[in-house]
Structures are given as structure tokens and as C-alpha cells.
Amino acid sequence: MKSLEELAAIREKMKQKVAIREGADDAVRIVVGMATCGISAGARPVLAAFVEGINDAGLSDKVMVTQTGCIGICQYEPVVEVFENGKDKVTYVKMTPEKAKEVIEKHIKGGKVIEEYTIGAVTK
């Protein structure tokens, strides 16, 4: 059984991490659409896959996972936008937890956009 006392230990570990991060700039931001349209299309497990995947990859210092409301392209939900410093925004559509894992592997870690999952490929 988890106890609240465990948090005290996590706190010590986290304080060091937060200090490191304050020196670096957040290079990558992953934004998941979480309005009614996104939620009903399956955005919740997609967000969870990004949160857990980025943590497992040890990238939580450099990559921030956040949420936003309706992006306005409800028919393509779940929608995920990736912002990187100095690069164009990438919009992934009709996301799934499996695709999220692939995006972490190929795009976030490997630096290569998965074109076939982007809005450009879907609306062609």
C-alpha cells in the first residue's frame, strides 16, 4: 500500500531535478487536445501514453507534456501538437497510445517527423 510518507522521499529527489531544469530551456512541448471532442475520441489514454513514455525515456527534463482545449479540428481528434524551438509546429491527428509511443521513439528521440500521422497526410 502506498503511503503519503513516500512523497517526502520523492520530494527530495524532485527538488534537485527542478533545480536542473530551471537552468535549461524547455526544448520540446507536446500538447494534447482535451475538450469534449478530444476526450470522446480517446485523448485521455493518448495523454497517459505521452506522460508515461516521456518519463520512461528519461526525457521529462527536456520535454513537457501539456493539455489544451478544442483546437477546432474535432473530426481529426485525438489531436497532438509538437512544438520545438526553432522548428515548425507538427500536428498529429487521429492519435492512439500506440502512435504516441512511436512519436516518442521516432520524432522526439530520433528527430524525424512521422509524416503519415500528420494532418498534412490525412487531408491530402
Binding site: T36, I39, T66, Q67, C70
Partner: protein, 183 residues
């Protein structure tokens, strides 16, 4: 919505947008299988006209498109399972010290058209991850178990300088909730 927990996430997001500092989510299932969901917040509240229109699928507060389906979806889920939805609200203008909105929904879990609850933990973590500065109080009680989570309590141990949206904290809360569900 495929799971009732997704309706909970969706409705609680309204509380976030209403500027709530505290959101309470209470799920109670009695011995007759009647499930009562109460989501209450201390947000800015709604006036009578807004309150009347939220159950209308063609009303929305959003600006990107004109259809708002959150509350109608919840009403649909409740009605098809022999239950109902009731919303009360106090505006900040009229009640500066005691404002907010309470959404109460009932469901008969024995009804064949009852939408399964699904991943309640996942919805709660999504809420906290998205808006970690809000305080959430969650309680899910049935004749078989009681699960609670209070972010105020977590913050007491964790301190104010560490965000609850940190992945380590989210994953800790996930285990904390799952442990309680699996007793």
C-alpha cells in the same frame, strides 16, 4: 462517451474553465446499485439563463465552434440508465463568498444501458496533470470499498514548490489510487 469516467473528466473540465480553485468529485454507490456522481466547484458560477441553456446541445461557451455537448452527453448517459442530472449554481457576482457550481447525476448501475465507469483513475490524473494548481478532492465509495485522494494532503507532504503535474508525482498518484481500488 464510451465510459462514464470520460463524462466525469469532461464535466470537471468545465469547473477548470470556470476558474475553480477547488474541485470535488464524489462517486457513491449504495447497496441498491444506485450510483450518485457529484462534481462541485468554487468557480465563477452560472446565472439562471446560462444554467438553463447548458443542457441544450446547441449552447457552448467555447469559441472555436458552436456546439457544446458535455452536459447533454451526461444527461444522455444518466437518462438511459434510469437516472437524472441536476445542476445548481451560484454566481460570483451574487454570492462573492460562496459561489460555484454543483452537478449531480444519478444512475442505476443495474440498468442494461448503464455506461460502465471505466478508468476513473485515468480521468482524475488527466485533470491533475492538466491543471495542477487546482485542489482536487476525490472520493469513490461503494459497499465494497472506499477510495480517496486529496491533493491538499499530498501538497502538505510534497511542499508547494513541486508541481503535481510532474510525471513522477502523477505516476505515484496512479499507484496510490490503484492500490486503494485493488484492496
Amino acid at each position: 462517451m464510451k465510459e462514464l469516467s470520460l463524462n466525469i473528466l469532461d464535466i470537471a473540465k468545465n469547473s477548470v474553465r470556470a476558474g475553480a480553485k477547488n474541485i470535488e468529485i464524489n462517486l457513491n454507490e449504495d447497496e441498491n446499485g444506485i450510483l450518485t456522481l457529484v462534481i462541485s466547484d468554487d468557480g465563477r458560477g452560472m446565472d439562471k439563463n446560462t444554467l438553463k441553456s447548458v443542457s441544450d446541445p446547441f449552447y457552448t461557451s467555447r469559441t472555436t465552434r458552436k456546439v457544446g455537448l458535455g452536459i447533454p452527453f451526461l444527461i444522455l448517459a444518466a437518462n438511459q440508465a434510469g437516472g437524472d442530472v441536476n445542476i445548481t449554481s451560484k454566481t460570483e457576482e451574487e454570492y462573492p463568498k460562496d459561489h460555484g457550481t454543483t452537478v449531480t447525476a444519478t444512475f442505476d448501475t443495474k440498468n442494461i444501458d448503464f455506461t460502465p465507469l471505466g478508468d476513473v483513475t485515468g480521468s482524475l490524473l488527466t485533470l491533475i496533470q492538466g491543471d495542477p494548481d487546482i485542489d482536487y478532492f476525490f472520493k469513490h465509495s461503494t459497499p465494497r470499498f472506499t477510495v480517496t485522494l486529496s491533493t491538499k494532503e499530498i501538497r502538505k507532504t510534497l511542499g508547494e514548490d513541486i508541481s503535481l503535474s510532474e510525471p513522477e508525482i502523477i505516476l505515484w498518484m496512479k499507484e496510490y489510487l490503484e492500490d486503494q481500488y485493488n484492496v
